[in-house]
């Protein structure tokens, strides 16, 4: 068989999908006793209505969607045989499997379908900003473990400034600066002084957690009214687009932060692969000596990119406070920076890949939340594991071996590289 790595990956994807479909057919179909109805609700507020809700019995739903997934796997297999892409099939198959799962898990209950997706997007916002910061750093060859610290510091800065000025715009403007400040520390020690970047990242995180905890206790709690009761950004409805059923409320009636996110993701993906800056950035992350030998100043470009990464992470940090709850809470980023790092790797260091991964994590997280409220046959401890199980399945089944930028984490200096 003539198989290139891409074909091998496709084949693995197709087979994983078929196996999962079969498992779902048996697990959620055959072994399912329950035939209570499941209701999917599609309407949130004032969209032009197409379908209000859809009710079907749990077992036939699981059967139907599993069978559909199996058929889609077959279709994907034929596509694979004809050496075509299987993106559409993977998306449809994944969706069918999820529906089969939900039919099983929510039997006798109601699933707010649109709300589920909207919440998923919101939960993935900080992950997406964080992973974009990761892309910018690691593609240039600097490991960024400090995403968590960048998110936390900028969440704090945004919350406090918005609260003091009673103005969300100020909060939103200060957040990127806070992110960039953390980046400045990272860049200075990692690039100028060649400190081990993993250790450095951890130290920065510990530092930011300690600082914000201290200020929270000494300042934000005692003087809560002035220091920690910031306003929240209002969602902006995009005319027409926000009225589309299902899609409208999910994508087009969001805060400015989410719209900024769309623009930033597209800009980074486009720039990284299509522009001069992107070519140079990828070059210094792969083979800095080669880049240097054609006249690119490796360390200053690295420095610049790490700072930009801080600005981007900063907007993500602002989402926690001005974008969501207003007030700052102790360690409120709760490890999202690390999940963003996982999304980056899972997305193979590609911006759009990282977004997909972040969305998947966000979705699993939100599904878990909704199912544990409505109640399911699964113990809630297991539901909490769902995002991570999804990751493991996705990585082993679909992503395979990933290759980091070759010079990721290695400081560059001329004398030591000859």
């Amino acid at each position: 068989m003539n198989l290139t790595p891409i074909q091998l990956r496709r084949r693995r994807g197709v087979f994983s999908m078929a196996i999962l479909s079969l498992a779902s057919l048996i697990g959620f179909g055959f072994l399912q006793k329950n035939t209570a109805p499941v209701t999917f609700r599609f309407v949130l507020e004032k969209e032009w209505v197409a379908i209000h809700e859809w009710t079907l019995d749990s077992r036939s739903g699981s059967y139907g969607f599993s069978a559909a997934a199996l058929l889609i796997s077959l279709w994907a297999f034929f596509q694979f045989r004809r050496d075509k892409k299987v993106h559409v099939q993977s998306a449809l198959g994944g969706f069918s499997l999820l529906m089969a799962f939900m039919c099983w898990a929510a039997s006798g209950k109601m699933i707010p379908f649109t709300g589920l997706l909207q919440g998923a997007l919101l939960l993935s916002v900080p992950l997406i900003f964080g992973s974009m910061a990761g892309v910018l750093c690691e593609r240039s060859g600097v490991i960024n473990i400090a995403i968590e610290g960048q998110l936390l510091a900028s969440a704090f800065a945004a919350g406090v400034v918005a609260s003091l000025t009673k103005n969300t715009t100020w909060g939103l403007l200060v957040a990127p600066l806070a992110g960039a400040l953390i980046s400045l520390i990272l860049a200075t020690f990692a690039i100028k002084f060649s400190i081990d970047q993993v250790i450095l990242g951890f130290v920065i995180n510990v530092l930011v957690i300690g600082m914000t905890n201290f200020l929270y206790k000494k300042l934000l709690i005692p003087y809560q009214n002035t220091w920690n009761s910031g306003p929240i950004l209002k969602p902006i409805e995009i005319p027409l687009l926000s009225k589309i059923p299902v899609l409208g409320p999910i994508f087009f009636s969001q805060t400015i932060i989410v719209y900024l996110m769309y623009a930033i993701v597209l800009a980074i993906h486009f720039s990284l692969f299509k522009t001069k800056w992107g070519l140079r950035t990828r070059a210094i992350g792969e083979h800095p000596t080669a880049a240097d030998s054609v006249g690119i100043s490796v360390n200053s470009l690295r420095f610049k990119n790490v700072i930009i990464a801080g600005l981007v992470a900063g907007i993500g940090g602002a989402y926690f406070t001005v974008g969501a709850v207003g007030a700052f809470g102790k360690e409120m980023t709760a490890g999202k920076g690390f999940i963003a790092l996982a999304a980056l790797i899972f997305g193979r260091w590609s911006p759009l890949g990282a977004v997909m991964a972040a969305l998947l994590f966000g979705f699993a997280d939100n599904l878990q939340g909704i199912l544990s409220i409505t109640g399911t046959p699964i113990p809630s401890e297991f539901m909490l594991m769902a995002p991570y199980i999804a990751t493991i399945i996705a990585v082993t089944g679909f992503v395979g071996r990933v290759r980091a930028p070759a010079a990721d984490g290695i400081p560059y200096s001329r004398e030591s590289s000859h």
């Binding site: 003539n2 880049a291 054609v294």
Partner: protein
């Protein structure tokens, strides 16, 4: 354009890599630099190209003093360089590699590769390079990768071209083509600084020769000098270019390859049904134009090839399909073709690299323990024996010069009691003195009753060492001939022409 280096000095710690070196390259001349491994040639060129800063000294171009702080300065005054270790980004395409640093853009800063593609096509055509601008560099053979570097230097309008050991990785044919290109460039007015260890090439193209030893210029020569004279000046003692070799006394079979077929993961047969035997006390050379399955055959003996059929016996015991460490422990020494990739761990120290395969065996280690003082003292012995030029055995292997890295691999592999030595291009990148030493060493291995399987694209080496020659062509061994065969007959065989014996 003429270039002059005046009293360039560069030290690395206590080591003086360049000691007040002065050198003048005239307009339109090919100036060869000869020198032992570690003499300081690459260091000097990296200084001229701005990758290293000298401690003192001056550079002038066309008799005007210039400051070169970075490669961009060198490029700006018209100095281009093809490096000993290629400076290409493996995951980029040829065109991307070539425009890097000199990108043309359209609106929004988007890359415009069309002009580069056209230029690549034009230069490829002019010099008969067969280079596809959209091929990904890591998929290309080294010979083509080097052409990419040459094209790049030409596209930047280099008036002075530095070629640091460009022929070390090339086949004899590719080398001849490169020499032709060099002469052609010279006729167009480009000055060339040419570094090589192969005296034949120097004689063929150089106008003048500067010889460097241990960081100092020790003399100049003209290409009319004989190889012996050049070698003596370079090494500082007479070098025996022709070897003394006793008659072989072959004993029992140590390596027996039976019906070996190697396929790649697309199922294409790279090695087809090969039968070959190496007996104790003989050197069998595998000759052939590069890319006819030699690499895969060598790797298969170490169990490095995943898809193999057949049998490989080491002293009567089949090892094919077992692990790499089984192959090593059954008594195979292996000198891989690319030392950077397969032979060394660059960030490890020299002493660690010298015991990579035996670190857990006595006297270096026992169970979980390793004995650093033994490792160190043994490493120091190896360094003496193989004349590895370094300041300390604890330095990382990446600080060594190209040839000295190769010596580390050889020192490790040839210092173990083994049954069979499999060596691919063992003298690639070595200076003449070191080649002499390695050749003597291989003959000593043979005389000590080991079997040696040598893979070499250098006919000189094949004739100097081999007792029998197996010729590979398109994955098959088309003939096994005694070493008394004439050069021209061997050449024909390598081209796949098999004469009918009368």
């Amino acid at each position: 354009m003429s270039v002059e280096l005046r009293a360039i000095t560069k030290t690395f710690g206590a080591l003086v890599a360049n000691d007040a070196i002065s050198l003048r390259v005239e307009d339109g001349e090919i100036h060869a630099i000869l020198g032992e491994n570690g003499a300081g040639k690459s260091t000097l060129m990296n200084i001229l190209y701005g990758l290293l800063q000298p401690d003192s000294g001056e550079i002038s171009v066309d008799n005007k003093s210039v400051t070169i702080n970075a490669p961009s300065d060198a490029l700006a005054v018209g100095i281009g360089m093809v490096h000993q270790h290629f400076m290409l980004i493996p995951v980029f395409t040829v065109a991307e590699n070539i425009v890097l640093g000199h990108e043309k853009t359209k609106s929004l800063g988007t890359l415009d590769l069309s002009q580069a593609r056209a230029e690549i096509a034009r230069i490829s055509k002019e010099f008969n390079f067969d280079v596809d601008p959209d091929a990904v560099v890591e998929t290309l053979p080294v010979g083509i990768q080097q052409r990419v570097e040459v094209i790049r230097a030409l596209m930047y309008n280099a008036k002075v071209l530095i070629l640091d050991e460009p022929t070390a990785v090339l086949t004899p044919q590719e080398t001849d083509e490169l020499l032709t290109v060099m002469k052609r460039l010279k006729s167009q007015g480009t000055s060339i600084i040419f570094i090589t260890h192969k005296l034949r090439e120097v004689q063929a193209v150089a106008d003048r020769i500067t010889i460097i030893r241990r960081g100092k210029v020790v003399g100049t020569a003209l290409p009319s000098a004989t190889q012996e004279e050049l070698a003596t000046q370079m090494v500082g003692r007479p070098v025996v270019l022709a070897l003394n070799k006793k008659h072989p006394a072959p004993g029992r079979s140590l390596l027996a390859i039976k019906d070996l077929t190697v396929t790649d993961n697309r199922g294409v047969e790279l090695v087809k049904n090969i039968n070959l035997e190496v007996r104790a006390g003989e050197i069998v050379a595998v000759a052939g134009v590069q890319g006819n399955g030699q690499t895969e055959l060598a790797r298969a003996i170490l169990n490095l090839e995943p898809h193999c059929r057949g049998e490989i016996q080491i002293d009567g015991e089949n090892i094919l399909g077992r692990s790499v460490s089984d192959a090593i422990h059954s008594g195979v020494a292996f000198v891989p073709e690319s030392r950077e990739l397969d032979g060394l761990i660059s960030s490890f120290s020299i002493s660690e690299n010298l015991i990579l395969d035996v670190f857990d065996k006595e006297p270096y280690g026992k169970k979980l323990a390793m004995f650093p003082s033994v490792v160190r003292s043994e490493a120091e012995k190896r360094i003496q024996e193989f004349d590895i030029r370094t300041q300390s055995v604890t330095d990382p292997v990446s600080s060594l010069s190209g040839g000295n890295k190769q010596k580390v691999v050889l020192a490790r592999e040839l210092s173990r009691p083994v049954k069979v030595v499999v060596a691919s291009q063992p003298t690639r990148g070595l200076d003449v003195g070191s080649i002499e030493f390695v050749h003597e060493r291989m003959i000593a291995e043979r005389d000590a009753g080991r079997g040696v399987l040598l893979f070499s694209t250098e006919l000189d080496e094949v004739f100097a060492l081999a007792d029998r020659i197996a010729v590979m062509y398109k994955g098959e061994i088309i003939d096994i001939v005694p070493a008394t065969i004439s050069r021209s007959d061997l050449g024909l065989l390598m081209a796949g022409v098999k004469q009918v014996k009368a």
